[in-house]
Symmetry: C2
């Protein structure tokens, strides 16, 4: 059903524009604004009754750096080169050219977002959090301070949270961007579901077939169609295919419209995909940060990930453990309840001795005892020679009683988003399996392959940041494309 | 056909021992020696007419460190901690406990190998090579000097080549180890193909069913069966399933007996697998080292991997490029023919200008020109801000004419070995999908999941080094296991 329709068979077009943008989340909004400002006639087709998409439901964190106004105001040193070094070292990006463009243009992109009215405070949060319940802006949201990445680039916080309140601050950014679209009269149709791309005999994408109010119609795009339809985490079929080991307790983030249809249309029209097995899942143990002083072990009683990792990295390693089980072990001094209640990390029990805890958790005899003995010996010297957790979070866990939280992937509630998607280049052009641009087809945002390939290297804001950045790129490139002729 | 036979149905046993070792490559040999020395009755079953396996056909590089006698004699500083830091930073090992055991025990393991008669010179080679055609021992065979890993651990060469001559020096090590087996009368049957494991009603592995001289027989193992049957690169079916994008021009390394049967028997008996998608492929551009001063670009004219990467890492990135195509670009000053002739990197042509080269290689207009302009600008400052190639290999490529070698995965001859396999723990026990040990079943060597998960993090010697190390572990653990009773 996602096969492109034949251009030559279309008898009438209800719309005839330069650039069609499918989807009005952050990537689509930025693409549409840039394309129209560059002189193109634009038409946005959005499936929901209004713009915003998953971006508006998100916590509103944009990964940006290189010395943004906020970083500067808060006294953090960063540079485009430093930001790129972090990305290159930690993410092994598939397309380092695009990753570098993003790092090099990130500071200016922040200014552009702010110029559109997206509100960012000049404030920062120095603790460990996943999202903030107030309007504070800057926060570390990745593995910048994690060994060995902290050796490759000077750690700087790059999570720029929009000044909206609560977990859904993403809406504040989208309100501003959508207001711009309205001010500038960017044409948009809502409750409009695109069902297929239209392709001509030369393989060029020339428009779309869409449904609105029960009526099908064709809209022609003479310079390009930009797909910005978000991730595929609400497609049970694609999720099952790409993530065979996903827990039934895992829940998708985003909107039900993130059903992967735009991606499938692009693929049916000749685009290739990249990194479809990439997933970021989260059920953070922090806040409070003190829990990072605990240790995370698998059901063999062994540590396997530095506890100060970004929560998505921790989740990725938990997913690889035997039975996907893991426990957070704390002593009385460190004990606290994880604050993110939605994760449902259950307190298993408390025990007077480590050997009782080991038995209570059904771990092999001596395993957890050996792990804790070695950890505590290291910790007494203020180090973690095994997994290189930062000394800031290292203390001997020797103040019993001890307690364990069950943070298993199979039992806690992990929220996830998909990271793979359409292969694109730095201009936002969709690429075919040979690496050539599919003529007339662009893609940006969560329907494309993210810069980080997996939850191990993800950082919060690596969807909205690059999504908005490459949305702009796609809009500009499409607007500048030579109009297609018959 | 790989389903285990029922122990209770076996009416007679032709052999009744403590430990059965399947395969007599390096892992099996080390396992058998250690098990027998620990007092176990051992039986080795080898499919070929003599011992050695793929280990004897290899270039004989053992990845070892932590301050071995050779490292010390050659003036290199290394420590177990330093070696572990390199592995942890570059390989993201699935089982850091096992990886650390390997690093911590590596120096002693070198001494043990030498005590068995495996010959290692106190010599080192400081250049860039893939294998050595003489008996020189020590060489850098991984990404130790590559950014950012060189920040996480002090670079030290850890490839210890056996003092045999040529590309197949691996035989010299196996001759020594097999001589030990003969001296110590480790029982072995040759031309003997194991067809199935034998499992009892409690799920414990109790022996094997094998064929020799056309006759099937059962051999009982009361303490354990150790599977050391090598990789699966000679199983077209498993290769096709796990590496859908493998080039038809790629050739497997090893012996035709690396058909994955041991792995499939272990899986059929309840073992899980890990990292089956891992592959190390090689068709190195060096030697000569000067070619590293060239740049590697894809068919979009863009660089994507630091050229001083270990050749297996380079290959992994080439495999991800559009059409899996890549070119090595050199100027007249750097020009040389790649010395490894088997790789068949074809000289495409020479050109008087970069724009002509770009056209000659069918790259998008301006693409290669932009890449070289930026590279040369950086190189003039003695740096590579894009991919962080070490300054040692950076010089402007501005002395025309220019030439290109086709190093595409799809056209050159890449040799590969598989990296995934049976999931094991640090004792060499085979693990089930829940992380529990499959009673009575062990595995070591190339039929198990390697410490490096992919060619991006592999280092030459990471098969023979850990294979021999964990082969010993498995032999010792099996010999010490309580004998199984009915």
């Amino acid at each position: 059903m996602f096969e492109p329709h034949s251009y030559e068979s279309v008898s009438s077009w209800t719309h005839d524009v330069d650039v069609i943008v499918i989807g009005q989340g952050v990537a689509g909004t930025c693409a549409a604004l840039e394309a129209q400002r560059a002189g193109a006639n634009v038409l946005v087709l959005e499936r929901a009754s209004g713009g915003g998409g998953a971006s508006a439901l998100s916590s509103g964190i944009y990964y940006l750096g290189g010395g943004t106004a906020v970083q500067e105001a808060c006294g953090y040193e960063d540079s485009p080169e430093n930001m790129y070094r972090y990305i290159a070292a930690s993410m092994d990006p598939l397309d380092p050219s695009a990753a570098r463009d993003f790092a090099m243009g990130s500071k200016d992109h922040f200014d552009w977002l702010e110029a559109q009215g997206v509100p960012f405070e000049r404030t920062c949060f120095k603790g460990k959090a996943v999202f903030l319940n107030d309007t504070t802006c800057l926060m570390s949201t990745g593995n910048e301070k994690l060994w060995p990445y902290n050796l490759a680039a000077t750690p700087a916080p790059r999570g720029h949270k929009v000044a909206g309140s609560g977990e859904n601050a993403g809406a504040a950014a989208m309100q501003a961007l959508l207001a711009r679209c309205e001010d500038e009269q960017v044409p948009a149709l809502y409750d409009c579901r695109v069902e297929a791309l239209v392709r001509d005999a030369q393989g060029r994408i020339r428009g779309v077939y869409a449904i609105k109010d029960g009526e099908g119609f064709y809209a022609r795009a003479n310079r390009g169609v930009i797909v910005t339809t978000g991730g595929f985490n609400y497609s049970p079929e694609m999720v099952k295919e790409n993530f065979p080991r996903l827990s039934p307790t895992a829940d998708p983030l985003g909107t039900p419209h993130n059903s992967g249809e735009g991606l499938r249309m692009a693929v049916a029209a000749g685009a290739s995909t990249t990194g479809m097995e990439g997933l970021i899942a989260t059920a953070s143990i922090y806040p409070p940060g003190q829990l990072i002083k605990g240790i995370i072990v698998n059901n063999c009683g062994e540590r396997f990930v530095a506890e100060d990792s970004y929560h998505g990295r921790t989740a990725s390693f938990i997913m690889e453990q035997p039975d996907q089980e893991a426990y957070l072990i704390v002593d009385e001094e460190v004990f606290a309840y994880p604050e993110i209640e939605s994760a449902q990390h259950r307190l298993v029990d408390g025990w007077e001795s480590i050997s009782e805890m080991e038995a209570g958790l059904n771990m092999p005899e001596g395993s957890l005892q050996a792990t804790l003995a070695q950890y505590n010996e290291d910790a007494a010297r203020g180090e973690d020679s095994f997994l290189h957790k930062d000394p800031e979070w290292v203390k001997p866990l020797d103040k019993g009683p001890w307690a364990a939280f069950d943070i298993s992937f199979t039992r806690s509630i992990y929220l996830y988003i998909t990271l793979g998607g359409v292969t694109t280049n730095r201009h936002g052009q969709a690429l075919d399996t040979n690496g050539g641009a599919v003529p007339g087809l662009y893609a940006a945002g969560a329907c494309t392959a993210h810069i980080p390939r997996s939850g191990k290297s993800y950082a919060s804001g690596m969807s909205l940041g690059p999504g908005s950045f490459f949305g702009r790129k796609a809009g500009l490139h499409a607007a500048a494309a030579a109009p297609l002729a018959d």
